[in-house]
């Protein structure tokens, strides 16, 4: 791994959010690369500084009371219908769509044309086979 890619893993490395393989890889790199080590130490120091300087505050229970007063005037929220929709896999034929009868009305795709294409296809295949067989026979005869 390059130093630049190692640096992007810094936060997850310090929080131990990485998988074991990557963790060991970075650890190995840090033991050999002093600049990356310095970078990691600096970011740790900065993180500590930020955590120390930005202290947490707590609100009083008046805040909760105010919110609850406001909430009591609102209507009770209703569960969304779409979230309670049953799973798609419960329907065995969900993907099945019957062909609409309109399919047979248009002139380009009418039943007659369809039959014609089918027959042509079938026969052309047969003709091709027959002709190729004849050719083979002819070649044999000639040989």
């Amino acid at each position: 791994m390059k130093c630049s890619t190692i640096k992007t893993y810094c936060d997850r490395y310090l929080n131990k959010e990485l998988d074991d393989f990557t963790f060991q890889l970075i650890r190995k790199h840090l033991s050999t690369c002093p600049t990356c080590m310095a970078f990691f130490q600096n970011s740790m120091i900065l993180a500590d500084l930020i955590k120390k300087s930005l202290s947490l505050e707590s609100l009083s229970s008046d805040f909760t009371d105010q919110i609850m007063q406001a909430v009591e005037n609102l209507p009770v929220p209703q569960a969304d219908v779409y979230l309670s929709f049953p799973n798609v896999s419960e329907y065995p034929n969900f993907n099945y769509r019957p062909i609409s009868p309109n399919w047979e009305k248009g002139w380009t795709s009418c039943r007659l044309w369809r039959d014609l294409w089918f027959t042509l296809g079938n026969y052309s295949h047969e003709y091709y086979l027959k002709s190729s067989l004849n050719n083979l026979r002819g070649e044999r005869n000639a040989g």
Partner: protein
């Protein structure tokens, strides 16, 4: 966190069935984290209180849309981010400096008065530098260091991927360090 995710989702389903009083528990659990988050994003205490209140009302109104497959805290903080960012858009200039009285409780009691004074100065400098960062970096840094979210949780809250969160953390910290050193250098030249 005193309650697990399953307990919280149980509370939510009881609220949806009409027992509104249970919402009090959710407010009590999340009011301080949400307030601290909004306060660090906005930088003004009274405004932050109002926005935290607005966030909870919005959460209550859209509680029916909460999907139990997701973590509740990520969903709640996503609402908090949208509310606070829309506030920032409406009101462009950021308040500087921070209001007084905040810094006193975080200074450690031990150490000489000079040290205490220096600590006080650096913390206020960091707060100012945080407010001067672009909002996307500030969001990530606050979620990381104040609310102590993991990168995964931040990514879910802000609706991005982990790689993006990591780079913005990296850049945010870099910018913060740069602005802090600039501050320190300026001071040194002044003296």
């Amino acid at each position: 966190m005193p309650y697990s995710d399953t307990e919280l989702s149980d509370f939510i389903s009881t609220i949806l069935s009409g027992e509104v009083g249970k919402f009090r528990i959710i407010v009590e659990v999340f009011q301080n984290p949400v307030f601290n988050f909004v306060y660090r994003i906005i930088g003004d205490r009274e405004e932050a209180k109002d926005i935290a209140q607005e966030t909870f009302l919005k959460v209550y109104k859209s509680l029916g849309q909460y999907d139990h497959a997701y973590k509740f805290s990520s969903w709640l903080f996503r609402i908090a981010t949208t509310v606070s960012i829309s506030y920032l858009r409406k009101k462009k200039p950021i308040f500087l400096p921070f209001d007084e009285g905040l810094h006193y409780d975080m200074v450690s009691p031990r150490g000489s008065p000079e040290e205490v004074c220096e600590n006080h100065e650096t913390s206020s400098q960091i707060q100012e530098a945080m407010l001067l960062l672009p909002s996307k970096y500030r969001l990530v840094l606050v979620l990381k260091y104040i609310n102590e979210f993991s990168c995964q949780e931040i990514a879910k809250t802000l609706d991005t991927n982990v790689k993006n969160v990591e780079t913005s953390l990296y850049r945010g910290r870099k910018m913060l360090a740069a602005s802090l050193t600039q501050n320190f250098r300026n001071k040194r030249y002044k003296r």
